[in-house]
């Protein structure tokens, strides 16, 4: 499980970074979304990867750490709001500057 998890994180992050470095706002927003997925998964994994164990101490010899799950929830909510905001801002930017280039102007040819 660890190998798949790590590979998923790596691919998500790499794709996210690649998209983030594009010059148009839409790929940048997508890149941010992918990175936030990767970060959320990473945060989740910080409670150690286990399957089928309860989150209550004392019920069994092994238990899952509930705190990272709470942190991930918070991070997801915040990340969702931020993505919504950056989409609106990108649309506004297209409206104001008549281009979807991140610098608000087309590069000189």
């Amino acid at each position: 499980m660890e190998a798949i998890f790590a590979a998923t994180l790596g691919i998500l992050t790499a794709s996210g970074v690649y998209l983030l470095l594009r010059a148009r706002t839409f790929p940048v927003v997508l890149g941010l979304t992918l990175i936030s997925y990767a970060v959320n998964l990473f945060l989740f994994a910080m409670g150690r990867l286990q399957s089928g164990v309860v989150t209550v101490i004392g019920k069994s010899s092994e238990y899952a750490d509930p705190l990272p799950q709470a942190l991930v929830l918070t991070a997801i909510v915040i990340g969702f709001a931020m993505t919504a905001f950056v989409v609106v801002l990108a649309l506004r930017s297209v409206g104001e500057t008549r281009t979807d280039h991140v610098d608000g102007q087309e590069p000189a040819q």
Binding site: F42, L71, I78, E96
Partner: protein, 501 residues
């Protein structure tokens, strides 16, 4: 448990929520409500300052969950000082905005309150993840405030600011995740003792997470490789917003002080004071490049934005030296630079309003209607910000320079700070002579000076005088702050007393 601790967060939160719900209320009611909430922060933070000055750490356990398990708010001398700085700056910025700037977009007052809530929360929290949450609150309010007033220039700067900060937030979560994964706690005081007790196997990962945090805070504080967003964003923001943003870089600096004196401080074993080696060259280079930017700026607002970068470099140098005297000097300079930079942003707007379509551009424009008054204020602000005697900038820099014994570090710091001061003066005199002396004969008739705005601007700038006159009590306070920050046993007691209950 003193409930006064959480009030600087709750008060703006409720005021902001009311303002959001009552979006249809008349502007007058909204202004009164917003002003009332902001002015109430003044006595409140004053009380907390008095409380913190008793020398005991005040802890507020949310939901009465004891320290390592629940989220705590922590009031020490440092956070109380920054609360006062924020409350004063926010009051003046709001007074200025109420003279018309708040009508240029929607929900200005609600956003302003949420911004204050985020800033106050970031200063008060004793929990690393909670710090992230308050960062996000102040950031999302600042995203909207930055584009307040609209226009292509603001949206362009806003997009860069938002995307950069979202990446910063991702880094923050990564760093917090690693720190939690190894230490198993998010409470900063608890984390400090866990880091101190960590084995050599974990040291590398802990160090990597710690330096990742430095990147995040550096993005907020705007130091060398990460400050490029700042000049554009600050120069294009509406004046009261730019003035309020003077505290935003200080939130980053506050976090640097907090994390690298407490978690990675003197006791952290092989990781002790690991940030200082990085911060020292970064500080000097930030200072130097900020000055070069100020010399090359094409508008008054751009010039002031680069002066913010210069002040960040100066403060960072004080933090990087790491001694108590240097930290005390840096804290004094922090108070001074926040208020004076805020006042200068307001002044730049007053000047730009009398120059028609030339705005703040440093080109020949129409003659000002009140050249003596505005020129006098500019002269005063320039002296303060460049660090000439007798105003507060001089005292701050003097404290910083005197904190070093003669040696290699002094040999590096003195020329950069003093040369930077000189070049700042050159940039400001060039700007001043262009704005006030090399003017056309015509005068704009439609640009009456608004006395409410003038009062807010002059009030904020004249605080420099107050800092000069009241230097002795402030100095003893910041010295006590610096020694409290290095007294790590005090912070560890929070956890011990919490675990004992």
């Amino acid at each position: 448990m003193n409930h006064g601790l959480i009030l600087p967060i709750l008060l703006p939160m409720f005021a902001g929520s009311l303002l959001l719900l009552g979006a249809g209320l008349s502007l007058r009611v909204k202004r009164s409500l917003s002003l009332l909430a902001t002015l109430l922060l003044l006595p409140l933070s004053g009380y907390l300052l008095w409380l913190a000055d008793q020398g005991v750490l005040q802890v507020y356990a949310a939901g009465n969950w004891a320290a390592p398990f629940g989220i705590i708010l922590l009031l020490d001398r440092l956070s109380a000082l920054l609360l006062v700085v924020t409350a004063v700056l926010g009051s003046f910025a709001l007074l200025y905005a109420m003279r018309g700037d708040d009508e240029r977009g929607q929900s200005f007052h609600a956003l302003f309150q949420f911004q204050l809530m985020g800033i106050n929360g970031a200063f008060l929290t004793g929990d690393l993840f909670n710090l992230f949450v308050f960062f996000e609150i102040l950031l999302i309010a600042s995203y909207a405030l930055l584009v307040h007033g609209g226009g292509a220039e603001r949206v362009r700067a806003g997009l860069h600011y938002v995307v950069l900060n979202l990446v910063g937030s991702a880094f923050f979560l990564l760093a917090v995740g690693v720190l939690y994964g190894i230490t198993g706690t998010l409470n900063m005081a608890d984390m400090a003792s866990r880091v101190a007790a960590a084995g050599p196997d974990d040291a590398a990962l802990l160090g990597a997470a710690g330096l990742l945090l430095l990147v995040v805070f550096g993005l907020k504080a705007a130091f060398l490789p990460l400050y490029f967003w700042l000049p554009k964003a600050y120069a294009s923001a509406t004046a009261p917003v730019a003035a309020l943003f003077a505290i935003m870089t200080k939130v980053g600096l506050y976090s640097i002080i907090r994390v690298y004196t407490l978690i990675f401080g003197d006791d952290a074993g092989s990781l002790a004071n690991m940030a200082n080696d990085w911060l020292w060259p970064i500080a000097l280079l930030t200072l130097a490049l900020g000055v070069i930017g100020a010399l090359a700026a094409v508008s008054l607002q751009g010039l002031l934005a680069y002066l913010v970068v210069v002040s960040v470099g100066t403060l960072l140098a004080g933090i990087a030296i790491g001694t108590e005297q240097a930290l005390a000097g840096a804290l004094y300079y922090l108070v001074h630079s926040t208020w004076v930079a805020g006042g200068l942003f307001l002044l730049a707007d007053l000047i730009a309003r009398q120059r028609g379509d030339k705005q703040g551009l440093l080109v020949q424009g129409p003659a000002l209607q009140n050249p003596h008054l505005l020129g006098g204020l500019f002269f005063f602000g320039a002296i303060a910000v460049a660090g000439l005697p007798p105003l507060s900038g001089f005292i701050g820099k003097l404290l910083l320079l005197r904190s070093l014994e003669p040696g290699v570090q002094a040999l590096m710091l003195w020329p950069v700070v003093l040369g930077g001061g000189l070049l700042t003066l050159v940039a400001l005199s060039r700007a001043g002579s262009m704005l006030f002396w090399r003017v056309g004969l015509s005068q704009l008739d439609s640009a009456e000076l608004d006395y409410g705005r003038l009062l807010a601007c002059a009030g904020l700038l004249l605080l420099s005088l107050l800092l000069m006159v009241g230097a002795a009590p402030l100095l003893s306070y910041v010295e006590a702050t610096a020694s409290q920050l290095h007294d790590l046993a005090l912070y560890r007691q929070i956890i011990e007393s919490g675990a004992a209950r």
